[in-house]
C-alpha cells in the first residue's frame, strides 16, 4: 500500500535534513505505528505521505503511484485524522460531517452511522464549539472515515483523552483494523502502539533504526527469565529463573509449592524500554 525508499527532506532554509533517507513499506491491511519523540521526523513523514510537502527526494509511492503524481483525487482514497481537532465550531457535528461528505465523489458513509460509531449520535445537533476535547477528537476520527478510505492516517488519536475516551478511540481503530483498512498511526504513546500496531517503526533524528512487530521487539530485547514474587517471613521476596527448562527446574517447582506466591512474570521488556535501548532516546 505504501512504499517509501531513501526519503530525504530538508525544510527551506534549514541546514540539516529533517529526514535522512528513510525506507519502509506498509502492506495492505497493516497497522504501522510510527513512533518517535517530538522533532524526530514523524510529522514531516506524514505530511509527505498525505501530499502536503512535495519537494522531497527519494521514492514515496501510495497504491503504486508516486505521491507527487497524484492530483486532488488522492484525497478520495486516504483519510486523515489530525492530532488537534479541526472543525467548524459554529456548525453542529452533523453539519460538519455533511459538508465534508459533499466533497467526495465516490461512495460515502451515512454521517449518523459514523456519529453512532464514535459515540456522538446524541450530540449530532450540538454546535462543535460546545463539544469537549474528547468529543472533538472522536468527530475528527469520524470525519476521516466519511469516504470509506482504504488508507487512514491517524495522528496521535488518543492524545489528551481521558482513559475512557482513549479506550473508545482504540476500539474504533481495532474495528477498522478488522475491516482490513491500512493504518499509518503516528504516536509517541507506547501503550497505544503496543496494542494497535502490527509493526512499529522507531524514528529518531530523521532516521529509522528499527521496524518490527512489538511482540518480537519485546522478546528480542527482554530477558528469557521468570520472576516469582512471594511472601517470606512477613516480607516480599523475589527470585528469578531461566525460562528455558523451567518445567524441570526443581528450585522453581519447590518454590511455587512451598511459598505463598504473589506474582509470576516473564521478564520480556516493554516497548518503551526497547525504544530507549535501540535509539538511546526517550519519548517525551
Amino acid at each position: 500500500m505504501i512504499e517509501v525508499k531513501d526519503l530525504v527532506f530538508t525544510y527551506p532554509g534549514a541546514t540539516k535534513p529533517a529526514l535522512k533517507g528513510i525506507t519502509f513499506e506498509i502492506a495492505q491491511g497493516e497497522v504501522l505505528g510510527f513512533l518517535g519523540p517530538s522533532g524526530a521526523g514523524k510529522s514531516t513523514t506524514q505530511k509527505i505521505l498525505i501530499g502536503l510537502l512535495s519537494s522531497y527526494q527519494g521514492t514515496v509511492r501510495v497504491k503504486g503511484k508516486e505521491v507527487n503524481d497524484w492530483g486532488p483525487d488522492y484525497y478520495e482514497h486516504i483519510g486523515v485524522s489530525f492530532e488537534v481537532p479541526n472543525h467548524y465550531l459554529k456548525l453542529t457535528g452533523l453539519e460538519n460531517l455533511n459538508y465534508f461528505r459533499s466533497l467526495y465523489s465516490g461512495e460515502v458513509e451515512d454521517p449518523m452511522r459514523l456519529l453512532e460509531l464514535v459515540g456522538l449520535a446524541d450530540d449530532g445537533d450540538t454546535p462543535v464549539g460546545q463539544y469537549s476535547k474528547g468529543m472533538r477528537v472522536r468527530l475528527t476520527v469520524a470525519r476521516s472515515l466519511l469516504h470509506k478510505p482504504e488508507l487512514i492516517f491517524l495522528d496521535e488519536p488518543t492524545a489528551g483523552l481521558d482513559p475512557v475516551n482513549a479506550r473508545k478511540v482504540m476500539a474504533i481503530v481495532e474495528r477498522l483494523q478488522a475491516e482490513g483498512r491500512t493504518i499509518f498511526l503516528t504516536t509517541h504513546n507506547m501503550q497505544v502502539a503496543d496494542r494497535l500496531a502490527d509493526r512499529v517503526a522507531f524514528i529518531v533524528d530523521g532516521e529509522i533504526p528499527t521496524i518490527d512487530a512489538p511482540r518480537d521487539l519485546k522478546l528480542r530485547h527482554g530477558k528469557r527469565q521468570v520472576q516469582v514474587e512471594f511472601h517470606q517471613n512477613g516480607s516480599l521476596a523475589a527470585q528469578t529463573f531461566p525460562l528455558d527448562g523451567l518445567g524441570e527446574n526443581n528450585t522453581f517447582i519447590e518454590l511455587i509449592r512451598r511459598e505463598n506466591v504473589e506474582t509470576i512474570h516473564t521478564q520480556e521488556t516493554t516497548l518503551e524500554n526497547v525504544f530507549i535501548e535501540v535509539t538511546g532516546r526517550e519519548l517525551g
Binding site: Y75, V80, H87, Y88
Partner: protein
C-alpha cells in the same frame, strides 16, 4: 460543481453564524443614516466613494476575518486533505462575500439615491459592474495578505497602507492630482464604473481613454490577483499546514 455549491452554502452559513451579515447591515445603516442628512444633489459626488469604502470593509476586511476563523479552528488543515480544489475554495469566498457586499451596498443605494431621487440619472448596470469588480479585487487582495498572518493584529498593520493604496486612484480620477500611474491600482477601474453610474464619462476630470484603460487594468488585475491567490494558497495554506 457540487463541491463549489456546497462550499458556497457553507461559507454563507459560516458568515451568517459568525455575525458577518449583522456587521454588514450595521455598515449599511450607518451609511443610510448619514446620507439622509445631506442634500440628494451631492449624492452623485459622494455615493461612489462611500459605496467603494463599504465594499472594501465587507470584502477586504471580512475575508481576513473569515480566513482567520478558519485558521484558528484549524479547518484549513482539514480542507487541504480533502478533494476540495483551490479554485472551489477561492470561488466560494469570492461568490459569498461579493454577494454579501453587493446586497449591502445595493440596499444603501436603494434606500438613499433611489428613495430620494429615483432611478433618473443612474445606470444600474454600470453600478453593479463597478460593485462586482471592487468586490472581486478586494476579496483576492485580502486573501493574499491574510494568508500570511495568524492574527488580526498582525494583519491590521500592513492592511492600513494597502487600504489607502486601494483608494489612491480616487486622487487622480477626481482631478485632485494629475498622476495617471495611480490607475494601475486595480480599484481605479471600479471607481470609474461607480462614478460613471451617476455621471457621464465625458464629464470626468481625466481623459476618457484613461478611464477606459483603468477599467481594462482592473479586469486584468482580477486575473493577476486570482493567479497570485492560488499561489498564496499553496505556499501559505497547504505547505504551511
Amino acid at each position: 460543481m457540487t463541491r463549489l455549491l456546497s462550499t458556497i452554502r457553507l461559507d454563507v452559513l459560516q458568515q451568517w453564524r459568525q455575525g458577518f451579515y449583522y456587521a454588514g447591515a450595521f455598515v449599511a445603516v450607518i451609511f443610510i443614516v448619514v446620507l439622509h442628512q445631506v442634500n440628494p444633489a451631492v449624492y452623485p459626488g459622494v455615493l461612489p466613494g462611500l459605496v467603494l469604502m463599504g465594499l472594501m470593509i465587507t470584502t477586504f476586511y471580512f475575508i481576513a476575518g473569515l480566513v482567520l476563523f478558519e485558521k484558528s479552528e484549524g479547518v484549513l488543515q482539514a480542507l487541504v486533505v480533502s478533494p476540495l480544489r483551490v479554485d472551489e475554495y477561492l470561488g466560494a469566498k469570492l461568490v459569498s462575500l461579493t454577494f454579501l457586499a453587493m446586497i449591502e451596498q445595493v440596499a444603501v443605494v436603494l434606500l438613499t439615491y433611489v428613495w430620494r431621487v429615483g432611478f433618473a440619472g443612474m445606470n444600474i448596470g454600470l453600478l453593479l459592474l463597478g460593485m462586482l469588480i471592487t468586490s472581486l479585487v478586494n476579496v483576492l487582495l485580502g486573501f493574499i495578505v491574510i494568508a500570511r498572518f495568524d492574527s488580526i493584529n498582525e494583519f491590521l498593520l500592513p492592511s492600513a497602507p494597502i487600504a489607502m493604496l486601494l483608494l489612491a486612484p480616487f486622487l487622480h480620477l477626481s482631478g485632485l492630482v494629475n498622476f495617471p500611474p495611480l490607475l494601475l491600482v486595480p480599484t481605479g477601474g471600479a471607481m470609474v464604473l461607480l462614478q460613471w453610474a451617476f455621471a457621464p464619462l465625458e464629464t470626468f476630470p481625466v481623459p476618457v481613454w484613461q478611464s477606459v484603460a483603468a477599467i481594462a487594468l482592473a479586469v486584468i488585475g482580477i486575473g493577476v490577483g486570482y493567479v497570485l491567490s492560488r499561489r498564496t494558497f499553496k505556499t501559505f495554506i497547504v505547505e504551511g499546514s
